[in-house]
Symmetry: C2
Subunit: 570 residues, 2 copies
Amino acid sequence: MTTDQHPDFFVRHAELLDQAVAGAADRGYWTPYPEAPSASAYGAGAPDLGEAAFRDLLDHPFSLEGHPTTGTVPATEVSPYGFPLGVSYPALVPEVAVATAKAAAAAWRRASPDTRAGVAAEILARLNAASFEIAHAVQHTTGQPFMMAFQAGGPHAQDRGLEAVAYAWNEQKRHAVAARWSKPQRKGGPLVMDKTFTPVGRGVAVLIACNTFPTWNGYPGFFASLVTGNPVVVKPHRRAVLPLAITVRIAREVLAEADFDPDVVLLAAEKPEERTAPALATHPDVRIVDFTGSSEFGDWLETNARQAVVHTEKAGLNSVVVDSTEDYAGLLRNLAFSLSLYSGQMCTTPQNILVPREGFPTDQGRRTADAFAADLGAALDKLLGDPARAAATLGAIVNEGVLKRVEEAAALGRTAHPSGELAHPDFQDAVVRSPLVVRLEAEAEADQDAYTSEWFGPVCFVIGTDSTAHGLRLLHDCVRQYGALTASVYATDEAVLEAARTTALEAGVHLSENLTGQVFVNQSAAFSDFHGTAANPAANAALTDPAFVTGRFSVLQSRRHATAEEQVNA
Amino acid sequence: MTTDQHPDFFVRHAELLDQAVAGAADRGYWTPYPEAPSASAYGAGAPDLGEAAFRDLLDHPFSLEGHPTTGTVPATEVSPYGFPLGVSYPALVPEVAVATAKAAAAAWRRASPDTRAGVAAEILARLNAASFEIAHAVQHTTGQPFMMAFQAGGPHAQDRGLEAVAYAWNEQKRHAVAARWSKPQRKGGPLVMDKTFTPVGRGVAVLIACNTFPTWNGYPGFFASLVTGNPVVVKPHRRAVLPLAITVRIAREVLAEADFDPDVVLLAAEKPEERTAPALATHPDVRIVDFTGSSEFGDWLETNARQAVVHTEKAGLNSVVVDSTEDYAGLLRNLAFSLSLYSGQMCTTPQNILVPREGFPTDQGRRTADAFAADLGAALDKLLGDPARAAATLGAIVNEGVLKRVEEAAALGRTAHPSGELAHPDFQDAVVRSPLVVRLEAEAEADQDAYTSEWFGPVCFVIGTDSTAHGLRLLHDCVRQYGALTASVYATDEAVLEAARTTALEAGVHLSENLTGQVFVNQSAAFSDFHGTAANPAANAALTDPAFVTGRFSVLQSRRHATAEEQVNA
């Protein structure tokens, strides 16, 4: 029943897939996609060719051969570095998008998990080859600095995609494809049945992507749905269409080469005046939704897209508890970088740093919360003192809303480190801001209002607590009530670390301990770190794990008596 | 961090658990629990001792040592065989049930998956030893005939429970418990992190059980929640408390022996005037719900218990398509038994038999739909002609609602086989009815109203179609719109069987082909047949598969830099 006329992609990538399954299980370091944006890793000329490919896209309609369309989405994307992209896209109203995807998926549904995983791995290989082109597209839609846009938008996003492929492929192979059931009887020979077990995709999938990490947050759901036999309608954020348009273009090329209908993957960009996500997500034929974005719309989707399985990654309040350290300089360096990276515009960036008001021990002597806030400000100034390094770390502010929040946070008073405007050495119109540090008190009512909201962007609070135990309690309660994607602790005493682990397990959040070097709480490594837990309100799924893929397909069986002849031959 | 002071149960059952995991993957025949209700399988005197244990329970308050209580649930259960059980139970209001379960679960959550699986396997071993006691309790709450009550309520339910244990245990072991992540750096030594990965239960689980299969439908969710580290509040159907009360008693005994708080498992029986399931299911601390019952309440739970993962098995319309056969006598015998077994009071019993109006070929010549309906009636009379066999097959009618439906269906007119009242040889007050067969037409509007509703109980429709293709189309549309747990086809031509398989895959239902012997469409074998698909409206889960367990826990991680010393030793 499968139409595996082009199994070559599976043969080509079979070893990679086996490695990916093993890597996802053992959680050590593993990646097939080089993270260095270098010619030595990606081939002579790759950086320049990638940039040229990106430049060629600007100021033109985006070309998606044979893609259905119901009009044109005019060019509206503007780089946070200060220039309009000038790229228009085919428009596709929800009804047509879903009907086209559904109609295109028959052969894809019937194909074997091996075939589908092979096609997905080939898509990823070509995405990897296009990493420079994609990096520029990510940089100029999200505002990420180039190095981050390359790594997080390219190879690291591909890692997450491959991780999803591995889980989706492996989950579909958990049961025998066929089995003989032979039940002994009290009298006579056994009862013998032949059975088949077929994984069948749930139906049309919709990916609702975000502004800041269109590929990194989008690829897991995209590939998990695809490999489990579902067509995918990609609904990009209106300000970050280009990286996913390139992704859709490449996916459609590979599908067509494998003799599948390319409409298994569709781009559903929306016009400026439209808001298509609600209609797409609640369409009766849409059976899977993946979403990254606001808690408000994520909660709406969970409540209203009842016909679908809905995977959401929403907002949260990430906390750091500081108890003690033997490497105060490392702590400050590490935190300053975490707060500065992409101007804190990450769902994983710490916001609330919980510090004993009266002070904590360090290798440089005791530090009160006030002193710590001042030291953190100084560390930020040191990190961001060099304009080139500052630009390469901060990137650009993605939209007006972020700027507005920084202003509001500054108006709270007690600024320990102001958010400054910085010039970008390459893009004079880029909007660049350094992190704001505000000094709050855990028990002050007005302060509580502030630190129990999410201030997405370059805003962090140093919050004075009575004690480490108090800080851990606040961390726990914040995670339970508002959700969190990360948590972090600094402590020299194993008993305190143990208490922090217990707190994190009870709260339902991943914990980083004593990060003082080149690993940052807001970064997670595919195949090793889970992103999100589904155990607190910030997300109802983890990227990626078995739970992220099992709801995307069912195993359907048939059974019949084995004939006497078949029984003899068995 | 685990408190594995009593690993003996895991050691005792480790081989069984390994076998169960292998059996669930290969889907062949496997069971550790003998299905014969015999002294040779269960020990000399077991049948009599089990019956005596059941008799001893009657007319007494049910004893659950140390179980919390907020009052008494008066004795209200009445055997469908015609006598009151006279068993009262401790009452437990939802608020207290959830709070007690939550408070009791700390050590259980911290225990390892091995420890929890060992405890669960020991509970199952003791349930198996109590199979006769449970069989009588099942018979006299559900109305199932004794043999079925023993098998489906005892060893087969234990099979399903063990299957859930196997999936839940295995899923928690999919990832390394600890890993060293070592990332090469361009300069200097690698970045090295030590990480831990801990499966953590989602929270309090509530099992909302049904009247007809309290153990078979209840054990999968019960054991899946338990093994993934969650306490379970068991809310039995008010007419079928006793089988689950025995289950809770045994689970608590084993938990206590393993040094866990027995309140990890609680019975929350409801008083006659209460309806506690909505409050239990929507309690903020309840994070998992398993439900078997009506579509109406199942849909309500899916919509309203938003804080929980909700697994439902609801109602559906099961169809049979008859195209042709080379064993007409076998077909009739098999269908007559399927319709008669437990008076059709199974969510898997066929209701709509779709037959070409103008006839289909058999080894006994061509049969029109009318002739087939008459033949089926004769086959029923033959099967049920012997009073002892009739009683052993039909069991008793579980409640008034079923009787009322049979009367309504008879009033549709065109009865091909009337539902008759039968005397039970052992229980003079038992309410026993034979199946009603009604002859309908696919295209008649009034008939469509009839056959597109579920008539749970001994009601079946022989529906005239234009052709087999027409019948397959109706099967498909019924499954998509109303849901189904089973589908069945009779055809001699492989092309027709292939079309039926395609139809079933597209509709999202399991298919049985040409059942003419001792396998019946309404029976599914654990470790081989999946029960439900989650691919159509009859259920949002399959019992049991990975998707049934992955939502019950999260994997939480911690990470820290490896010290230089640890790195050298690694």
